[in-house]
């Protein structure tokens, strides 16, 4: 499992793309928003947590098809299917690798980008915390979507259509927790619910994703 994780991380680093591109995309979304809604700092500060969440979610979506597609094409996935490691474990490791190269950098950079949107000081911490708890769910749900569409030639667009509705609960609770935290209100409830979604996704979705991959490899 660890060998698979290291292999995936190394591939992501050396092949480029994945992790730099996601961050660049996130930066561009953050920069574009003020052009769209105007430069008043009060407006920007109010919508900043939501924008950062939507931006991170879209940046995460961007690199999802890389989770299984290349391995499917060059046959690695077939080898993984016959390996002693159960497919559920392989899926979980691959989702973890995706999170380490996309979710984690996004989380770390979000407080920096938040400055561009005039987010007040307390907001930086809450955006960081909510993304830290929420992005693993995004990677895991995304891995499920990628597993469903891995056999398709142009599955990318279809995958977005499948994955985005599944992201809705995480986004609602995450953005709500970040907004409430920024405004100094109690946000333990949405935070706990989002953590619940993350924990539930990590516990259950590997089984669904592994089932989908087995069907696709048949």
């Amino acid at each position: 499992m660890i060998a698979l994780l290291i292999r995936d991380l190394r591939l992501a680093m050396r092949a480029g793309g994945g992790f730099g591109l996601g961050l660049a995309f996130f930066l561009i979304v953050t920069v574009l928003v003020p052009f769209g809604v105007g430069p008043e700092s009060a407006t920007l500060a109010r919508i900043a947590p939501g924008i950062l969440w939507v931006g991170a979610l879209l940046a995460c979506l961007l690199s999802l098809d890389r989770i299984f597609q290349l391995d499917y094409e060059d046959g690695t996935l077939d080898l993984l299917a016959t390996a002693p490691l159960p497919m559920e474990g392989a899926v979980a490791v691959k989702a973890l690798a995706h999170w380490l190269v996309t979710g984690l950098p996004l989380t770390l950079s979000a407080p920096v980008f938040a400055t561009l949107l005039n987010l007040p000081g307390t907001g930086h911490i809450w955006v960081f915390v909510t993304l830290l708890i929420g992005t693993p769910a995004l990677s895991m749900i995304g891995a499920f979507g990628a597993a469903l569409t891995v056999g398709l030639k142009r599955g990318g667009l279809l995958m977005s259509l499948l994955v985005l509705p599944l992201y809705i609960p995480t986004l609602i609770f995450g953005a709500e927790a970040a907004t409430r935290g920024t405004e100094g209100m109690a946000n333990a409830t949405p935070l706990a619910l989002m953590a619940g979604i993350t924990a539930g996704s990590i516990a259950l979705l590997p089984f669904a994703a592994a089932a989908a991959i087995r069907v696709n490899l048949r």
């Binding site: 499948l162 599944l166 809705i168 609960p169 609770f173 669904a208 696709n216």
Partner: protein, 258 residues
């Protein structure tokens, strides 16, 4: 299959039900049920809608706009129930591998999507005079929009995969996972915004129900929409079964040619 397994299968006390998963038997039964479903749908929908539209009094505060309830509520109810039916059919397909079950789920998706759209549109038309807006991010409206997205994704996945068995498996997995997330979204949306909708008005608890004048034609249309769904579902599933047979015949012909 070993002998022990065969005996076990023969002893299954649900066999009277699973028998109908045999496509030949299903076609025979559905052919007989079809006219009845059509008759029930016609006998309830036509009087129900006419009664509701022309022979109910106008409610205070609502005016004649209240009459859209006879389309809005049944379509909204069916939109959710059809998804539940798809979930059950998907589970049966995954557990027992009955082809008809997978085809029924596929056939139901489009009907469900149309019902969701109808509920959203009639709701928008009703919302304009009542709430002064066609659309608001009210929890129920939002949940229906999300449900619509789920139908869209489900059907897109069916359309994208060529191998019918792979498509049936993957859409079934999506339907199960999607159901969990649709339910989560429902509660998340409730949490996110307070609504404009009134509370439950059709529950069996009589306290806050609509008055009988509106209730009776509504029951008729509710039954009518269920019958209409059964009718459309049977027609569409029969078409799917026939398409599958056609495909098998074509493949066999090509095999003979080659």
């Amino acid at each position: 299959m070993t002998n022990a397994q065969r005996t076990k299968q023969a002893d299954d006390r649900w066999n009277w039900l699973w028998e109908w998963a045999n496509p030949v038997k299903f076609m025979a039964l559905s052919g007989k049920v079809l006219p009845f479903a059509a008759a029930i749908a016609a006998l309830t929908l036509v009087p129900g809608v006419i009664w509701g539209f022309f022979f109910t009094p106008e409610a205070d505060k609502f005016g004649s706009s209240v009459k859209i309830i006879y389309v809005h509520v049944p379509t909204a109810m069916m939109a959710i129930n059809i998804w539940v039916m798809m979930l059950v059919a998907s589970l049966i397909w995954i557990v027992r591998r009955h082809q008809v079950s997978a085809l029924a789920a596929k056939a139901a998706a489009l009907i469900g999507m149309v019902m969701t759209l109808a509920a959203l549109f009639t709701g928008a038309i009703w919302g304009e005079p009542m709430w002064g807006t066609y659309w608001a991010w009210d929890p129920r409206l939002t949940s229906f929009l999300i449900l619509f997205l789920f139908y869209l994704g489900y059907m897109a996945l069916w359309g994208a995969i060529e191998n019918p068995d792979t498509a049936a498996d993957l859409t079934a997995v999506l339907c199960i996972v999607g159901s969990v997330f649709a339910l989560l979204s429902r509660y998340a949306v409730n949490f996110w915004n307070q609504g404009l909708h009134q509370g439950a008005s059709l529950s069996l608890d009589k306290q806050e129900n609509v008055s009988d004048v509106y209730w009776f034609p509504l029951v008729l249309t509710l039954v009518g929409f269920v019958a209409l769904f059964v009718l459309l579902l049977l027609i569409r599933t029969r078409t799917e079964v026939r398409l599958r047979r056609l495909h098998a015949l074509e493949t066999r012909e090509r095999m003979i040619d080659a």
